[in-house]
């Protein structure tokens, strides 16, 4: 245990996801020896994130304004909407540079064990968006786990007979670089049902 403020800082850092006690210590002492300007910048960034970040009124992504950069960008295809669970998933899809449409961030996945049902997610917003915007294709890109699969199932059923709307899901296959015999049943099952002719 260190004294006073140093220990307080270590405790606070240790509460962050992915940081263990050793990591917290290392970061704390790094900050202690850092230039005051660097610390001030970090301080400002923390302040801004709590005060200045809002959620885009259209897609629910984190944004600086009421409408995010992607929703404002007229070069993005408004007919195509990729549905993801979290803002970090938007970044993951953006990094591929494969997708030129827009997003819809649900704010999580259907998880009854945690008390999350359709009303806790931005599903109604998605439905009204489809009703008013010129959307023709919804790509469901929820996480490849139990809650994500169940969410995709729910959305497919909800959206299936909208006139003029096609609903697709990310192909979920086997991780590259692995052996087939080591694939788990859930992954292998999805890969089989999503097979395509070559």
């Amino acid at each position: 245990m260190y004294e006073g403020p140093v220990q307080d800082l270590i405790d606070e850092l240790g509460r962050l996801p992915g940081i263990g006690p050793k990591g917290a210590q290392r970061i704390a002492f790094h900050l202690l020896s850092a230039e005051p300007a660097d610390v001030t910048r970090l301080q400002d960034a923390l302040q801004r994130v709590k005060e200045g970040v809002v959620f885009c009124e259209v897609c629910g992504n984190v944004s600086e304004r009421t409408r995010c950069r992607i929703c404002q960008d007229t070069r993005r295809d408004p007919r195509l909407v990729c549905v993801v669970e979290e803002p970090k998933d938007v970044l993951a899809v953006e990094r591929t540079r494969e997708f030129r449409g827009r997003y819809h961030v649900l704010g999580g996945a259907l998880d009854p064990l945690s008390g999350v049902g359709p009303d806790q997610l931005r599903i109604r917003d998605l439905v009204s968006r489809i009703g008013t915007d010129e959307i023709t294709e919804i790509i469901i890109a929820t996480d490849p786990n139990t809650e994500g699969e169940a969410t995709a199932t729910y959305l497919v059923r909800l959206l299936q007979d909208f006139p003029g709307l096609s609903v697709t899901r990310l192909a979920s296959g086997l991780p590259m670089g692995g052996d087939l015999e080591f694939a788990d049943e859930l992954t292998l099952g999805r890969a089989l049902s999503g097979r395509r002719s070559v």
Binding site: P17, G20, L110, L113, G115, T146, E149, G177, L186
Partner: protein, 290 residues
């Protein structure tokens, strides 16, 4: 015991740190076990999707200081595959898992019957033959019987007078005679009580012949009875989809198919007002089911 092996069902998972997970298992020999699965959230983890809720696995664990650590997993039944592709099955099966998790409070206490019951229920959910709502109600009734909370469905729950009786009281613990009837008792249809009895005893011929009205009323009573004994609200229960939701053509919103029940709401508000049972009434309320 530093390294041990058992079979079990994954009841719930929660995130730990960047890539790990805490997995709650109901095992055959050791009862409820919480263990860490390292690196499981990375794509390409050797555990893959084997440690997801509903999975029935053969697992090897290493005894740790606070939590045990999963070292190997093999799938026995990937029940999740047949559950997640239907929202009704998913929500009902989640409610079943939460029920077990709440009823089995002690870790490392062998609960073989609960384990067998859970595997049986998951098999029924993923098997897609039986109505998931009936499977859930049957499972909850039998799990409560295991805990000593079986509702009286023939005799009077208070005085033991032979039935059938027309009134049901969650507080009294089941059907009650006219003399014992406490305030707030309800009068379910005779068919509903027959359905509950069939579900408790695994009489699927009777259960599947039941009418929709009896099923709805029965689900309400089962849920209220469970919540009363658990003294907590189950998170998943209000989210259970009892019927295939229909989409409202006008608003394009799913019509709410609100499953249950006034009873639960009453019970829940009683809990919030602090009128819940002070200590678990336990088997006291269940003559003939000790």
């Amino acid at each position: 015991m530093s390294l041990y092996r058992d079979v079990g069902v994954v009841l719930r998972v929660s995130k730990l740190g960047e890539a790990d997970r805490i997995v709650t298992l109901l095992t055959r020999r050791y009862g409820k076990v919480r263990a860490v699965a390292k690196g499981v959230r990375r794509t390409g983890s050797r555990f893959g999707a084997r440690l997801e809720p509903f999975a029935h696995v053969d697992v090897q664990l290493h005894t740790g200081r606070t939590l045990d650590v999963v070292t190997q997993v093999q799938t026995l039944d990937a029940f999740g595959v047949g559950i997640v592709d239907d929202y009704r099955r998913y929500t009902t099966a989640c409610a079943a898992l939460e029920t077990v998790d709440r009823i089995v409070t002690e870790e490392r206490e062998p609960v073989l019957r609960m384990y067998l019951l859970t595997v049986g229920a998951l098999r029924a959910f993923s098997g897609r033959v039986r109505d998931p709502s009936l499977v859930l109600d049957s499972f909850v009734l039998r799990a409560m019987a295991f805990a000593g909370w079986s509702p009286a469905l023939g005799e009077c729950a208070r005085c033991g007078l032979a039935g059938p009786h027309g009134t049901f009281s969650v507080i009294a613990g089941g059907t009650v005679c006219a003399a014992c009837r406490p305030a707030g008792a309800v009068r379910p249809a005779a068919a509903t009580v027959r359905l509950l009895d069939a579900l408790l005893n695994g009489d699927w011929t009777t259960a599947e012949a039941s009418e929709e009205a009896a099923r709805g009323e029965g689900s309400g009573l089962v849920a209220a009875h469970l919540q009363w004994h658990l003294e907590h609200r189950l998170r998943s229960l209000p989210l259970v989809e009892r019927h295939e939701a229909t989409i409202d053509r006008e608003t394009r919103q799913p019509e709410s198919s609100n499953p249950v029940p006034e009873l639960i709401r009453q019970r829940a508000s009683a809990l919030e007002e602090g009128n819940g049972p002070v200590s678990s009434p336990g088997p006291v309320n269940t003559p003939g089911h000790s």
